[in-house]
Symmetry: none
Subunit: 547 residues, 2 copies
């Protein structure tokens, strides 16, 4: 048993598995890949990708990561122990795990005698064999094992001797990590402290006695049913745990999992543990919003550290005090986690953000020239209308080119009409769109049908433009997301549409906002085509220069 | 200094003062009165009503409560100490406090030397005098005093001697409670434990030495900036605090205050403290939703203890286990806080889920009769098309009635047309919808405009039906959510729409799916109206029976 002299912690993200248990959250394989790559960039060392044995679709996700691996993170496959009275080698779930082809596998098993006898309906002895066999079999197939002890705290409270035997079985079979799961989320911090300390003591003496080759490290996996998930994880770390499991934005079943967006800054900035690089911590807020965007859930504005209101200040005295000395009203500097202080009444400038963002498009803006402030102002105006440029960088680039008077005019939409007709009992509803576009001073009218109004609009637009820009034929709309902004006004609410487009390997995202969902969609679709044409013309220009 | 042998805790609610600092939350005097009366019924002993010195409107709120007092709670007025270099008796803020006419007053003062010198710009000595004078003056006017030590933990960490002097000043002047405020929300639980224990030790020796008549009790007031507000309050209680300040639903500035809806069950059910009556605890979920209703914020479905998802279970094995022995998957019984176990209807659902779900609608299905399997099959078919009944329980209920051949036919939509026309440069795009509906064999045609196609459709439908069902006028569409199912097919993807409707306190959600976003919206809107009519007719039938 090692203590933690280096202060290094290993983060283990389970957004893609436990996080997706949240009611109302569902993700495509493409979404999962985008999130995995973002977490990889954030410096999370372990990313749990899914449970291929329960969810056959997950296998494809792991295969795609084999084709095009992550940069630094270990992608982990998750599975239960074998079922009672089977052979591990014959267990289809474990074959699915091997097919996923990951180096690391997380196996969860029962710690609580009650769950063994009434849930699994098997003997306590057989449960120990299930743990041992499963870990041993996967070790024999070259996998490294993280063992999740399900219902650890409840199990230990009811029958500590048996609970410890389950851990011993996992360790003897070669598990490298033991993770204490507060599966029902009912444990209090002082119980966590006490149990983790006492179990670490027991394991140390056990491994010393038996001269185990494998010395396990301890992890913690908490749920937020008592509003204590973050506190419980911190308590376990302070008692000696070195792996912290959680999810981005605390997504998870019921009340969610421990929120990594709260845990990382607490552990790293306040308690001095080392979790991710300092430059990566600066991306925390952006990563949180990226994930909420991809899973299509509104970000929690009041979320600690990363919420839009987390460093919002109201009231005159308060504001001038915080501007004189932020320490007086802020527990950390918002910039440390990539967030911003926000003065609620008077908008606070984020010029440095704009400059940084422009740089990602290869544009060096001069902060003393008026263009930079104009871009900021335009961005703020649009954001107050509901636009959002975090995920829609292509729309932001167009806005920048516009302000710099270098936006290329490929085409101009003069207007469109959409018509839908549904007759009850008829199988499908076709939509009809007509569009009027000007290219090089020439007006073109085109009409097209689609199996929905947005598809019809997209088809009409392409039909009008393809003779001028044949490269359009290769553009594909790969994703289309709709978010209602002010939900409480019902169907009269504002709608934000994000459209993701692709041409070969290139991908870009654009945004549109309107109370009319068709107009919002049209804006995003039109900018999507425009940005694609821009990318093509830039690529051609680059080719001309290099040849 | 008393310890807490009786395990009695005093709750102090500040929803009406600190809670209203939340961005986007605003309440009328009428709203505040409704909330105060609800909290009184819940058994909260101290309810902070406002700061009449800063908010003159608040005085009227206190007057109305003098006219028609609360049943058991003390209503408390809140104020800062007098300003530097003034007389307490001449301070208008303190006159406003006296005018409020409460028995109890909470006075907050500075504990942190930095805030005294750079915020108030006065001497450390004058700050002590401000605390002493203010408390003494209000005592001389017959008020009982709770002293809130602002920035207590930060102040104590920076200059413990001075921080203690501020407490001594308050105690010497007659404050009965000292409340430690973590104003910036940055303190960690172990720091709270350590500081509260050490300060209680100091105060005990001080009051023994000086033979103070008033023996102060200790309170805790925490904020959630580190996601630890609940843990910090619990830590303080375990270190000897006997008053717990917080807000309903954790409302408050930035990331919110300590959430009483989490604290009460943790303290009472898990730690054995006595906070409110057992029968009052049964009202906790309802009180939480009542307050969110009054302040017009959507309830947090994932809130610990009181959220709609807090005791939601997915998956067949899991569900049958929880029905056999709830302890296996629930940290408390949901009924203890007035919440409900909810069986989530999802992809993994088996027959036991359907039976359990039907029971929540008062329908006993026989699992051996074909209807139960038909419902499951129909549900699975629809789910494979992209429907999702997790959130759309009203649509599931309609499906059930359909299978049981007891779905009431209120109206039948024969068809609709939607037309949108956008001309570039024109400000807004109106949409026009026409609809054909049959009621009692009579065909009705109606047309309406809206600022988007769905709003137009909804308006046309209501226009067609309102003469037959005037109760429709009270239905409101409160939320509208759109999710694209197979994102990779772009704008031709399937769309799932969830519509939440309301009539008074009742809320229900319906779902629609189609490649055509308008058709999906139309399905959800139509079922939303149908289910509302069903609820009304059930309520009327119940009234007829009871009369």
């Amino acid at each position: 048993m090692t203590t933690n002299p280096s202060n290094q912690l290993w983060l283990y993200d389970t957004t893609l598995r436990d996080g997706t248990q949240r009611e109302g959250l569902s993700v495509s394989i493409e979404d999962k890949l985008r999130i995995a790559r973002r977490l990889d960039k954030l410096g999370i060392p372990f990313i749990e990708g899914g449970w291929p044995g329960a969810n056959p679709k997950d296998v494809q996700f792991f295969w795609q990561l084999q084709e095009d691996p992550l940069e630094q993170a270990e992608i982990v496959a998750f599975c239960s122990t074998r079922r009672p009275n089977t052979n591990a080698a014959d267990e289809p779930m474990l074959q699915a795990i091997l097919a996923a082809g990951t180096r690391w596998v997380t196996i969860f098993g029962k710690s609580w005698d009650l769950h063994v006898t009434t849930g699994l309906k098997t003997s306590l002895e057989e449960n120990l064999a299930m743990i041992r066999d499963t870990v041993e079999y996967l070790r024999s197939q070259g996998r490294r094992i993280i063992y999740d002890a399900e219902h650890w705290f409840d199990g230990y409270k009811h029958n500590p001797d048996y609970a410890l035997q389950t851990l011993e079985a996992a360790v003897a079979a070669g598990a490298e990590w033991l993770v204490f799961c507060d599966t029902n989320g009912g444990t209090l911090p002082q119980e966590v402290t006490q149990i983790v300390e006492s179990v670490i003591g027991h394991l140390s003496s056990m491994t010393n006695d038996q001269q185990q080759r494998t010395i396990p490290q301890i992890g913690i996996h908490t749920h937020n049913d008592s509003d204590l998930a973050v506190a419980n994880a911190i308590a376990a770390v302070m008692a000696g745990a070195t792996m912290v499991q959680g999810t981005i934005n605390g997504y998870g079943e019921r009340c969610g999992n421990a929120n990594l967006c709260s845990l990382i800054p607490n552990l790293q900035l306040k308690l001095g543990y080392s979790c991710i690089g300092e430059h990566q911590l600066l991306q925390l807020t952006e990563a949180s919003r990226f994930v909420s965007e991809v899973v299509n859930l509104a970000p929690d504005e009041h979320a600690p550290f990363v919420g839009r209101s987390a460093f919002a200040h109201k009231g005159g005295i308060h504001v001038s005090a915080v501007e004189r000395n932020p320490l007086t009203y802020e527990h950390i500097q918002p910039e440390q986690v990539g967030n911003l202080r926000r003065i609620v009444i008077s908008e606070q400038s984020g010029l440095s953000n704009v400059l940084a963002k422009a740089r990602t498009f290869g544009i060096e803006l001069d902060k003393d020239k008026p263009e930079a402030r104009q871009i900021l102002q335009r961005m703020k105006d649009l954001e107050s209308e509901g636009y959002q440029f975090e995920a829609a960088e292509a729309s932001f680039a167009l806005l920048m080119y516009e302000a710099l008077a270098s936006r290329q005019l490929f085409f101009e939409v003069k207007g469109f009409q959409v018509h839908c007709d549904l007759i009850e009992g008829k199988e499908s509803t076709n939509a009809l769109a007509t569009i009027k576009v000007a290219v090089n001073g020439q007006n073109i009218l085109a009409a097209a049908e689609g199996n929905g109004p947005v598809a019809a609009l997209d088809a009409a637009l392409r039909k009008a433009l393809v003779n001028f820009y044949p490269q359009l034929a290769a553009f594909e709309l790969t994703d289309y997301k709709v978010r209602i902004l002010n939900g409480h006004t019902g169907t009269a609410a504002k709608t934000r549409v994000l459209v993701e487009s692709r041409s070969g390997q290139l991908r870009w995202t654009t945004v549109g906002v309107s109370t009319n969902i068709l107009e919002a969609s049209y804006q995003a679709v039109v900018e999507g085509l425009e940005y694609g044409l821009l990318l093509h013309s830039q690529a051609e220009a680059a080719l001309r220069v290099s040849s």
